[in-house]
């Protein structure tokens, strides 16, 4: 819980400081102008180019791989197959070490590598990859949740394999993990219900769609180690996993992670890096793999879900019970998806005061590409159902859906998950709803063909974490901060620069931020779950305080006073005679030999044994979204005339970045609600990998009016009372937009995305039903 993290030293905003202001993005000009070097921009003149060999089905036994012709092709230097890897096949993962470096006798999803070809040029590698002969026998793979859960279904993972499912009670099924969250007596509460809403919902698979596709360069070092260049969100996890697989020490595996061009969760867990590490070590050469957008779309995705929900309401609109069964379609290997399921379903009851609740969730293996983390984790899937249920209940009771939410929302400190591992509200969430209603003009009448919808979203952030930071105050008054957070566009570097500038009294332009290099930067667990502001932010803050303490002590010694007679504050050492600027005090303290002051900060949150999330959430993200649409009933197309997103952020450390995250999250959520979906055929092949048929919003698709705002009560566990906030605006976008479409069309839509065809079909079916 936040209390474990919260300390007395969160700091107060300096009235003349940088924190809290619209400070310009650190490195923003380079990012916007194209000067920033992404991994694919790095030049390795000696590198071999790599092409991955795959087969055009999602599930097959591999009977043979013949590389003779490929190896004889011009420019080919080497081919890696499973036969070149240690036996048994090395596997990796986080919760389950189930993913093989490359297909292990069986292809379990479309795109799983069967071989890799390294050649002097990409064209040569591609040409050779096409002539690698893979003899395979297609198996009746399971590509949908229904197929995977059917009796006698093909099992995606071999139940007898001791490295995977052996000893697992569910091993004879495709369910890799399940979770039940329950409190109260459903039957008893149902007796009090004036209305029970029951429906089924579906949420499609979709991809993170980072503008920078995946890329990895693996380079053997002169001293038997390995350097990996990869745009990864978790360089230290990459280091640990690859070092373990290839049998090197952490110090021998050097991960360089240039700022990613968007991650959205898709760049957390290794994918091709282990394969590339083995290839580089086999050939003793630098090898380089750059995927295009379509290949990246095939490689990373969010879990789809099907949901069945029953919700009871009193006639006044009190929710008396909520029962949800949700299945997440996670793919062929675990990755982080079991945790997507547990975290998503934990908040499945929503931020409401529920007398009884039952959430039954399963993470289901299918022969589809591996799903991983994505902005919102497992919350948007379940929120789509839970929030649509509440909208439907309000409509059928003739009540205002916003006021039904306000009526049931928990107060600050009140439990919304009950029981041993309760979840408590950690903010004034009603304020976000009220602000959103005001911005949306909630009670204003609408013209014909318009509809308005509201939803709220909640997500638990990190339940454990460790971030370490170093801050160096140099002799000339400049500073360098080392922070392992990956800045993938969220603006982490800017926040560290603002913090250091304020805490040390250094001008912003004299602060340098170093990240993305495991040889230079101390440990950070990961850049995920909107944790960095809270965890790394606290580590940076503590490193700055450590610098100040040292300067104070050095200064005291140099001027011959007891350290206890002095104090420090942001940017200054306080003496009996008055404040001495910190850089001046540091110069006096350092003396003639100069040198520098090196501060260290750590932020650690241990998990809690037995907790379904592994620990109490460090904070919750809360959001309220309101959509307004104008529907063209003839075609089913709609225009989003207005969208409002309001999140509880604790404190805006940089309002322009908060706005950017809020707007970006809302637009991404809108795309995922109204057009995005991955579609697979009956052989498990992805039908729409390219940008032509995997649609994301363009500027013409964003709402005509987009309003965002933040609730600030300075009540977060992070520096200056901040909370993480980058996922809030995507949590309930689907449900808000769906409610708006439902209001305009007069029919309830239960499946995403909200395509024109789907809306047209639903309205036509309703019209025919009405006639019949």
């Amino acid at each position: 819980m936040g209390d474990a993290l919260r300390s007395q030293e969160v700091g107060t905003l300096r009235p003349d400081g940088n924190v809290g202001t619209r400070t310009k993005r650190y490195g923003g000009l380079e990012r916007a102008s194209g000067a920033q070097k992404y991994v694919a921009d790095l030049e390795f003149p000696e590198a071999l180019q790599v092409a991955i060999v795959t087969i055009p089905v999602g599930c097959a036994d591999i009977l043979g791989v013949d590389t003779a012709e490929a190896e004889a092709m011009p420019g080919v230097v080497g081919v890696l197959t499973a036969a070149d890897l240690p036996s048994p096949m090395p596997r990796f993962g986080v919760s389950h070490k189930d993913r093989p470096v490359m297909a292990d006798g069986r292809v379990n999803f479309y795109g799983e590598p069967v071989a890799a070809v390294a050649a002097l040029t990409q064209e040569q590698a591609d040409a050779a990859a096409r002539v690698v002969k893979v003899d395979y026998r297609e198996l009746p793979g399971v590509y949908t949740l229904d197929a995977a859960l059917a009796p006698g279904a093909h099992l995606v993972q071999d139940p007898s394999d001791p490295t995977k499912r052996a000893g697992d009670a569910l091993r004879e099924t495709n369910v890799i993990e399940e979770q039940t969250i329950a409190w109260g007596d459903l039957a008893e509460q149902e007796a009090k219900a004036a209305l029970v809403v029951e429906d089924s919902y579906s949420y499609p698979m979709m991809t993170q769609f980072p503008i920078e596709p995946l890329a990895v360069i693996a380079e053997p070092t002169d001293v038997g180690g390995l350097t990996l260049y990869t745009p990864v969100q978790h360089p230290y996890l990459m280091q640990r996993i690859v070092a373990g697989l290839v049998g090197k020490t952490l110090g021998q595996v050097h991960v360089i992670a240039p700022d990613p061009g968007g991650g959205f969760g898709g760049k957390q867990i290794p994918k091709y890096e282990p394969l590339m590490a083995f290839l580089a070590l086999k050939l003793g050469r630098t090898v380089r793999l750059t995927l295009n957008l379509a290949e990246t779309t095939t490689a990373i995705r969010r879990a789809g879900a099907t949901v069945h929900a029953r919700t009871g309401f009193t006639s006044e609109g009190d929710i008396v019970f909520h029962h949800v069964r949700i299945d997440y379609q996670i793919g062929a290997y675990a990755d982080v998806a079991p945790r997507v399921m547990t975290k998503g379903s934990y908040v499945g009851g929503g931020p409401y005061r529920l007398p009884a609740c039952l959430i039954e969730a399963r993470a289901v293996l299918t022969n589809t590409p591996v799903s991983t983390a994505m902005r919102g984790y497992g919350a948007p899937q379940i929120s789509w159902a839970t929030e649509s249920q509440i909208t439907d209940g309000a409509r059928r009771l003739g009540l205002d859906p916003a006021r039904v939410r306000l009526r049931n929302l928990v107060e600050n400190g009140e439990e919304f998950v009950k029981g041993e591992f309760a979840g408590k509200a950690d903010g004034e969430w009603k304020q976000a709803v009220e602000k959103a209603m005001e911005l949306a003009g909630w009670d204003d009448p609408l013209p014909p063909n318009r509809g308005r919808g509201i939803a709220v979203g909640i997500k638990s952030s990190a339940t454990s974490g460790l971030s370490q930071s170093l801050v160096r105050l140099l002799y000339d008054g400049s500073a360098i901060v080392y922070a392992g957070t990956s800045d993938m566009g969220q603006g982490a570097r800017t926040i560290w620069a603002q913090t250091v500038a304020d805490e040390l009294g250094v001008p912003l332009e004299k602060v340098t931020v170093i990240s993305g290099d495991t040889d230079l930067v101390p440990f950070d667990l990961q850049t995920s779950a909107s944790r960095s502001t809270v965890f790394m932010g606290t580590a940076v803050l503590r490193a700055c305080r450590d610098v100040r303490r040292q300067v104070r002590e050095m200064y005291a010694e140099r001027v011959g006073v007891e350290p206890g007679e002095l104090d420090d504050e942001p940017g200054a050492v306080l003496t009996a005679e008055g404040a001495v600027a910190l850089d001046e005090a540091a110069r006096i303290g350092l003396g003639a030999l100069r040198g520098e002051v090196l501060g260290q900060g750590t932020c650690r949150l241990e998990g809690r044994k037995g907790h379904p999330l592994g620990g109490d959430a460090s904070f919750y993200e809360f959001n309220c979204s309101i959509s307004e649409v104008e529907l063209d009933a003839g075609t089913g197309q709609f225009v989003i005339t207005r969208h409002v997103s309001v999140s509880d952020v604790g404190t805006e450390l940089n309002p322009i970045q908060v706005t950017a995250q809020e707007e970006g999250g809302a637009i991404m959520g809108i795309g995922q609600a109204d057009m995005e979906q991955l579609v697979f055929d009956e052989h498990g092949r992805l039908l729409n990998p390219s940008a032509i048929d995997y649609r994301v919003p363009t500027y013409k698709d964003v709402p005509l009016e987009l309003f965002t705002s933040a609730v600030e009560n300075h009540d977060g566990p992070g520096p200056y009372g901040s909370k993480g906030m980058s996922e809030g605006p995507i949590l309930c976008t689907g449900a808000a937009l769906g409610a708006a479409v439902t209001a305009a069309a007069g029919v309830k839509i239960t499946d995403l995305p909200l395509t024109a065809e789907r809306i047209w079909r639903a309205t036509r079916a309703a019209a025919e039903g009405a006639i019949a």
């Binding site: 064209e123 591609d126 295009n292 379509a294 003839g634 075609t635 197309q637 225009v639 057009m675 579609v679 039908l687 729409n688 390219s690 032509i692 048929d693 649609r695 919003p697 363009t698 500027y699 013409k700 698709d701 395509t755 024109a756 065809e757 047209w760 079909r761």
Partner: protein, 282 residues
Amino acid sequence: MVTYYKAHAVADALEVLGRKDVDARALLGGTDLLVGLDDRLDSAPGVVVDLKGLADETPLAVEDSGVRIGLTVTMADLVANPTVAAWYPALVQAAGVVGSVAIRNRATVVGNICNASPASDTAPALLVHGANVRIASADGERVVPISEFFVAPRVTTCGRGELVTAVELPRPVPGTGSAFQRLTRRWGVDLATVSVAAAVHGDGRIQLGLGAVAPTPLLVDLPAGTDLADRAVLDPVLDEALAVATPISDIRAAADYRTAMVRELAARALQAALDSTRRTQA
């Protein structure tokens, strides 16, 4: 490895495009060709013949009798021409929604029809505007009505060793109105799920051009003088006329939705064409 060849004259281009020993592809804006190559899916041609620097090319020529769209004329060029806008509203509306601003600055009208996508944006409009396609070869020139130009998806009557040098549009008779309607999955940068161009000609003819509902763009004639304002008259006429549409189900839409939408868009396009006639008369 693909060879790049920069042609300086039509004859020069024809010579390379006519070679039997190499698969040559013409390059104009590259908005279809290069995307295909980039996806590493299409088999790469042996040589790409760049036509953007032809010295003997007439770009956009407006004459009393009509308009000649040379092979380097881009969508943006077309949209910016006031005479084209006045005479051919359907074409300008269609050209104005191709891709994005950046794509319209590169993509050419000739390239768009030669790519012969069933979902081509300009084809339905060119059909109702009565366009003719001028095709050059070493043996001389021939002119084909655009209604006979499209053969199959990605196939036209322009064969190996031939080059479309221009699309020619006759000047509409006075009182003609036209309009274009398109359905897409999103509002910006998309391919048509269904498209319809309509022309209500000053001489009484009524035509529809249909996109993405058959292997090639289709031209349909409605009975001359049909009262477009009277749905009781129009609906059965449309039912009969649109029976030629044989849409498929694919990743973009199901067949029955396309069938319903071509009907919906046809009615809207006809109404808009009629309105543009009235505007011209006023």
